[in-house]
């Protein structure tokens, strides 16, 4: 008998495994029918999981940890039985800021440390002239978008608390906010960087993969109570998503994946844009043709195993951002969210897995 699972998702490319598991029959083969429900905010995702309107959801991995630790909200204990991807973010800035960075750069601007040092000089010049600090947007307080911005900035000596302003803006409003000068740059996931740059007036400054290698990004989140109650369902769903991951990471399937994701019920954008992103062809600094980045977004099974080292890394970022304190209890709690055991039980050994995320900037 087929079991229906209601899963909330945000229209982003890294919902690909969920869409593929539904559209390519991987869920059905595991006896599952996926009812994918598009959502508009990460707060909705968290709350609808919490009250049981969703069985599972596409979630920011740091947000799953934050909910479990009760940071900034009621405590909602969550479990991540499988990652949905690694990487996929990029930092985009206004054309105006890009030109200023280019003018202040002391080397190759495609290097994050170089651009961050240039940013520091611009921040200091603005302060000396009494101008308002530059403003950068992320999509949620507990997100790699936030931490990518911070890691990048700190590589050039920029103090994210003092030298700039960091605000939250939903991705669909990023381009407009950049255009009307509310913000000077942002970090978001696919396809929003590509879409914003296509509109003109903005430039992709860095791919997330230039700042952190093998970076956790989105995951499947379920309530801890749900996972405890339905271990077989979670195992079946994990297997379906890993098979979907294998399918998605085969370059031969990219055109079809792009078509699935382009559907008006999913992203509702042109499949060509999605293919460009899947090929890792985001042009840096407006350079054309773009140099391909093979790991721009990873869906391969090795990327999907939740690792304790990923929990340690994310908790470290939260501590650095002043969102929590580093205590042994919290470290254990964060590790418990990323359930390596649940993944291994469902899939056995898949041969490959990634280690800790590595800072490159």
């Amino acid at each position: 008998m087929t079991k229906t699972i209601r899963i909330g998702f945000i229209p982003l490319l890294d919902a690909a495994l969920l869409v593929t598991a539904r559209d390519e029959g991987f869920a059905e083969a595991e006896g599952l029918s996926l009812d994918l429900v598009r959502e508009v905010s990460w707060a909705n995702i968290r709350d609808k999981l919490n009250v049981g309107l969703f069985d599972a959801a596409h979630i920011l991995t740091p947000a799953a940890i934050a909910s479990s630790l009760g940071l900034g909200h009621v405590t909602v204990p969550m479990v991540v039985p499988v990652n949905l991807n690694l990487n996929g973010n990029a930092i985009t800035v206004s054309r105006q800021l890009y030109d200023q960075l280019a003018a202040s750069a002391d080397g190759d601007l495609t290097q994050p440390a170089v651009s961050a040092r240039a940013l520091k000089r611009i921040c200091e010049a603005r302060r000396a002239k009494g101008e308002a600090p530059l403003t950068f947007a992320k999509t949620f307080p507990f997100s790699m978008h936030h931490y990518h911005l911070r890691i990048w900035m700190k590589a050039g000596g920029v103090n994210p608390e003092e030298d700039v302003r960091l605000v939250v803006i939903p991705p669909p409003l990023m381009a407009k906010s950049l255009e009307n000068g509310h913000i000077d740059g942002f970090c978001v996931g696919a396809p929003w960087n590509a879409l914003t740059v296509a509109g003109g007036g903005a430039v992709v400054l860095h791919l997330g993969t230039q700042i952190v290698a093998d970076c956790p990004e989105k995951a499947l989140g379920v309530l801890g109570a749900y996972a405890a109650r339905r271990p077989e369902t979670i195992a079946a769903l994990t297997r379906a998503l890993v098979k979907a991951g294998r399918w998605c990471s085969d370059p031969a399937n990219r055109p079809l994946l792009a078509r699935h994701m382009a559907h008006h019920d999913v992203l509702g954008i042109a499949p060509q844009v999605i293919e460009t992103i899947l090929d890792g062809l985001l042009p840096l600094g407006g350079a054309s043709p773009a140099a391909p980045s093979s790991h721009y977004i990873r869906f391969d099974p090795g990327a999907l195993r939740p690792e304790p080292a990923q929990a340690d890394f994310l908790l470290g970022q939260m501590v650095d951002a002043g969102q929590t304190e580093d205590t042994p209890d919290r470290r254990d709690a964060a590790r418990a969210v990323l359930s390596t055991a649940s993944f291994d039980e469902a899939c056995g050994s898949i041969g490959t897995s990634v280690g800790a995320p590595r800072l490159l900037a």
Binding site: V40, S41, W42, A43, N44, D47, K48, N50, V51, G52, L53, L71, G72, H73, V74, T75, T139, F140, P141, R165, V167, V168, I169, P170, P171, P172, L173, K176, S177, N180, H182, G322, Q323
Partner: protein, 194 residues
């Protein structure tokens, strides 16, 4: 005397925010600010300094409010969802109704509860209105389809109107489909055979 509770309503739907505002005024809350435009939302809220923010779940800018939980130079007062862990039933009702409330820390629970209850009731009322409107619209659409299908049958089969209608109804019942679906099939077939 305590200062009146200041409530900000963030909602892009003019009808729904009017229904909510009216409900809150009826419940005795007069200090209400309505925000329809969500660009620069945080700056607006910092300026308004509300005690309570009510936002609909269809609004992507809900995530903008989430950063108010964080210690931030932009927000002088900490924010908490009023409900504590024991109020899960209340959270559930609000989420199902499609509304979320953010409350400045320290505001007494008994002052917040009537606000949330009003918001839930008014959102549910709006939802009911919207469903009724959709139903009326689809009924009207169905009637248009049935009228066209009847016309086609009358012309092709040379039967009077009541017989054409009876034929559509009988087919719908036999095939376990709606009258509108059968009418649509007739129209499609007629167009194919043109």
């Amino acid at each position: 005397m305590e200062r009146p509770t200041k409530i900000a309503i963030v909602d892009e739907s003019p009808v729904r925010r009017a229904i909510l505002e009216e409900g809150l005024r009826d419940a005795g809350f007069s200090n209400i600010v309505v925000i329809a435009e969500t660009t620069g939302l945080l700056a607006r809220l910092v300026q308004i300094e509300p005690d309570v923010v009510i936002i609909d779940l269809e609004n992507p800018s809900r995530d903008v409010l989430e950063q108010m939980f964080q210690v931030s130079r932009l927000v002088s007062r900490p924010v908490a969802m009023f409900v504590d862990q024991s109020d899960n039933a209340m959270i559930g009702k609000a989420i199902e109704a499609g509304v979320s409330t953010y409350v400045v820390d320290g505001l007494k629970k008994d002052r917040v509860r009537p606000i949330l209850e009003t918001a839930i009731a008014r959102f549910n009322a709006f939802q009911k209105l919207r469903l009724e409107l959709e139903e009326t619209k689809s009924k009207l659409e169905e009637r248009k389809l049935v009228d066209r299908a009847k016309g086609i049958l009358m012309r092709i089969k040379g039967v009077p109107e009541d017989e054409a209608y009876a034929l559509l109804r009988r087919t719908a019942m036999n095939e376990n489909r709606t009258l509108g679906q059968v009418a649509q099939s007739v129209i499609t077939a007629a167009e194919l055979l043109k």
